[in-house]
Symmetry: C4
Subunit: 256 residues, 4 copies
């Protein structure tokens, strides 16, 4: 492991595949979306990406099993014109050069398997009210327009896209692969399945994916309960703090 | 993109060209100057410089189009003895080794195209009053003297030149290319077209470039209005702060 | 020394060896354990590991002798089915990439000498009361179970294992070597021979090592005396601080 | 300049040379000593060391001439059994790996020119009273003992030696070159020619160098005047601060 590399577990015959990527980032939008797609589409794990640019620790499971941080590719054979590759992982790279190298490694894998379009998923920081929008950017106007027709919108202020989700797009041109980035609006403090749901809906429209959204609605319900609980804790603390301040105010009055 | 490299978009036949470089830095002096030269001289974009040492994000335009951070070379065919190459970009390198590598990559390109002289442009921090001076440094006395005759001055305190503008000069010797660095005096807080103008004037004298300065004078006008507006905001804040302090002073008196 | 590498001092004929590793880390558990094993088993120093990723200083002994930071392999010829290799060193790597490179270098050495099992030793942060437990993790269930039968336990919360002790396990799979990590529970503030003792006991059971524990009990006694002394100093300081606060409380009363 | 390398300006015929090194560090002891030796021995500049691990700026002289940061080797042809090579430079490396690479590069040069002994010079932090001692460390006992006979002493507490002065010793073994490090005791806040003088004296005794110390005594005189001036400024400030505190003490009394 002196350089990032991909270890294939199975030989696959992918038919003009689409690759959808989502690593941990703002609101975990990308990782939540990909994990949901993997489960719903019963995708098969086909390859790992290892890199010395990931953080230097290993994960331990409940049985004491150990593994390196890594990314993983999953494969779905479809009846349509495009098979599906999904990618997620434990972490992004910790160094600048590692970010470029990992995005590069993924693209080499995509090219090898004749990937037609890459979609990267992430979060877009926003004080969201109501349903989160999906902000789209891409390597070419035609691909971006298809995403807009599927329900995404282009941002007017053009914030840069940081990390792997952005670099893959930037580098895709060199491999002549069309690529899109879809960012779900999120406050970004907590894992945000609602933002991931918005992205999945656009993906459904765009590629005609057969995805049942009931499961992610359950996740959203749970996430909302956590938020409500956290807000109550905060309100209590704030109320107590005010009470304390009042009390102290009285004391100060006595002193003066 | 495992190493910095240059991607040529067009094959050019450059006749003993001069290369003028200006990346983002103090007061954006270099970048403003180069962008103005590109516009005025109707230079053609001929090559890109990519590097894994640039920051790891991509830029998004208003149509949702995405691109990597990069530098770009522009070309101007002249009637004189020297054609012109211009270079600017989005960012400097984020690492020490990247700074050396990028300067090196630019010099290899310069050598390939038989560049005779390189001029790098930057800002020189100074509490400027009136017209900013242009501080010059160079690889050899003869080239520096030509710049002095064209209106530049040598600094007496000899501050080091940080970043690409400096390293290119340091490395140019190994390629046997004469090189100059021209630093426009600037306070450096805000984009400073006035400092860029001073540098362009020296370049005009030095190389007999046919540049109309009306456009940059408009930019200078706008920049000055911004400065005036910022100063007013600051004065108001300062006045308010003083007022507040007076008020609080009274209160304190009551309390004592 | 442009890359990490191993310099062998003696050619060894190791019979299906077990490699046990312990570098400086939490509570120095790994280093204390390995040093004790080296002494008790009269292990012979057979190879050094050098790396440009170690910190850039050299150590000086009392006679003014100087040496680079390094790791060292020790060898024990046994009568049993497995000979023993022990590894410890001055420091862990200071960079992410160095952590991967050093673990990789050690594994190449292990493979070359036909190592059957690797055990890495470290500390596990815990407010220990009584005898420290040994937390185990490993590359495969069978090896983990052997360690559990020898007295180790699996952690329920599955904290990641940071540094060389963890990465070696993560990378061992690629070399098809079974590997275990044993972490002695420790508060981690001070060198903790008691935690090291727990680990050594499990190793004894696991591999039938003939180790006399009297020596480490002496170390534990000394370490406990240091802790008691530090606690007294702390209590005194705390008592003084309280006293001071009381006194100041009185003064404040006078002032008001 | 993708890797550190040495550019020889002249071909030299060095007879069993001794190499003495001193880069900027604590109290600038090493650099001051080497510069004095260069001047006194009329050494000739024979080679440069360039590296992308030096800081990324260039130096500018009063005529506007520019150069990269670098190290430089100087040569002295002697009548004795050993010619002399001297090395100093503008800066140490800014990265761990660069520190190793630069020390390595110097050693390759030393080996090529058949260097017999290397001496590195630095500072040793100490609240010095009277004449600074010279602390010595080395690759082997015999070489250390020669230095002790020449007036140096071995430190009892064995502090590590940080940076190039230390790494060269650590790496010299691999090239089978004897090496010494001589550290002049210094408070380290300011350039310290007095500490450099102590080191030069030991070098004189050790190698029989014909060095007139009058020049460095002048430097020491100047340095002492600077220290006295700084102390007066400090005392004044301290006295003023006390005065202010007294005044404020009075005010507080009025208020209470």
């Amino acid at each position: 492991v002196k350089e990032s590399y991909i270890k294939e577990r199975t030989t696959i015959q992918a038919n003009n595949p689409i690759l959808i990527e989502g690593l941990p980032g703002l609101g975990l939008v990308g990782k939540i979306a990909i994990r949901y797609l993997i489960k719903q589409l019963k995708a098969e794990k086909v390859a790992y990406l290892y890199s010395p640019h990931f953080p230097y620790f290993v994960l331990v499971n409940k049985k004491g099993g150990v593994r390196l941080l890594r990314g993983a590719f999953y494969f779905v054979k479809t009846n349509g014109p495009n098979d599906l590759l999904l990618f997620t992982g434990d972490s992004q790279s910790q160094t600048i050069e590692g970010q470029y190298e990992i995005a590069d490694t993924m693209l080499t894998f995509a090219k090898k398997h004749n990937v037609q379009v890459i979609v990267t998923i992430g979060g877009y920081r926003m004080e969201v009210e109501g349903k989160p929008k999906v902000i789209v950017a891409g390597t070419d106007e035609k691909t971006v327009n298809r995403a807009i027709q599927a329900g995404a919108t282009v941002s007017e202020n053009g914030s840069p896209i940081v990390g792997t989700a952005g670099l893959i797009l930037g580098l895709a041109r060199f491999q002549k692969i069309h690529a899109l980035c879809m960012l779900g609006e999120t406050r970004g403090y907590l894992p945000d399945p609602l933002a991931a749901r918005s992205v999945i809906e656009v993906l459904q429209n765009l590629f005609g994916l057969p995805i049942d959204l009931a499961g992610i609605d359950t996740e959203i319900g749970k996430a909302e309960k956590i938020v409500v609980r956290l807000q109550k804790i905060e309100e209590n603390q704030s109320a107590q703090a005010q009470e304390t301040r009042k009390e102290e105010g009285k004391k100060t009055t006595y002193i003066s």
